[in-house]
């Protein structure tokens, strides 16, 4: 699936998007896989309360299932307007 990062999440991880091969069942499982990769991922995901997640461009939750999802995006709380 495509995994996208925005704002300081993008900066901490060091890239805006990547393809990830995963069998993760939920967003939390995917986060655990990413955190285990490298310290920059571990740092970016250290406080999930400071992060939001969108599945196929719809706001979702960290316990949501990933079955059928093609695009996951992680970002801080939004500051529009």
């Amino acid at each position: 699936m495509d995994v996208l990062y925005f704002a300081w999440v993008r900066e901490r991880i060091g890239l805006p998007r990547e393809k990830v091969e995963t069998e993760a069942a939920t967003v939390n499982d995917l986060v655990a896989e990413l955190r285990a990769r490298e310290e920059r991922y571990d740092m970016a995901f250290s406080d999930l309360s400071a992060l939001r997640v969108a599945l196929d461009q719809q706001l979702s939750d960290f316990d949501a299932p990933l079955a059928g999802v093609r695009e996951v995006a992680f970002f801080p709380p939004m500051t529009g307007g």
């Binding site: 996208l4 925005f6 704002a7 300081w8 969108a54 461009q57 719809q58 706001l59 995006a73 970002f75 801080p76 709380p77 939004m78 500051t79 529009g80 307007g81």
Partner: protein
């Protein structure tokens, strides 16, 4: 309904006039404009806004559709910029047209409240002393949603 996400500056007067034109059955037009605000202690050089192309348009359309379902509106306009802008430049605008002012005012406030924390934009402030900081979301922005 018109939703526009663009990098270029927009002409507030021209957009408002174009929106108002052709709504002879609408007695009330409300507009709100968000402007890059200078900082009192550390002068702001620029604001940079990042967004999530695709989701941004979908989220704004969803918010505007909900407003149209909830209030008696003739039309809704949302223009939101991304990229770099200087203090005093308009960041975004919403406009609502309704037969009566209460619907137009309330719908505009609803649009703004949801646009602040449910549309995928992220602001960064670049100040004269060289600092470059992401703007943090405020708890009050999230609290503002509960009144709807």
């Amino acid at each position: 309904m018109r939703i526009t996400v663009q990098e270029a500056a927009f002409d507030l007067g021209a957009e408002t006039n174009a929106f108002a034109a052709g709504h002879t059955d609408m007695g009330a037009i409300v507009t709100f404009t968000g402007v890059v605000r200078d900082l009192p202690d550390d002068p702001l050089v620029a604001m940079e806004i990042e967004h999530y192309p695709g989701m941004t348009e979908a989220a704004l359309t969803d918010i505007a559709t909900r407003a149209q379902e909830r209030w008696h509106l003739g039309d809704v306009l949302v223009i939101h910029r991304y990229g770099r802008m200087a203090p005093g430049e308009a960041i975004m605008m919403v406009a609502t047209a309704a037969p009566h002012r209460r619907d137009a005012f309330e719908a505009a406030e609803y649009l703004m409240d949801f646009l602040k924390s449910r549309a995928p934009f992220w602001k960064r402030e670049i100040t004269a002393n060289g600092a470059s900081e992401w703007v943090e979301a405020k708890d009050t922005d999230e609290d503002a949603l509960s009144r709807w």
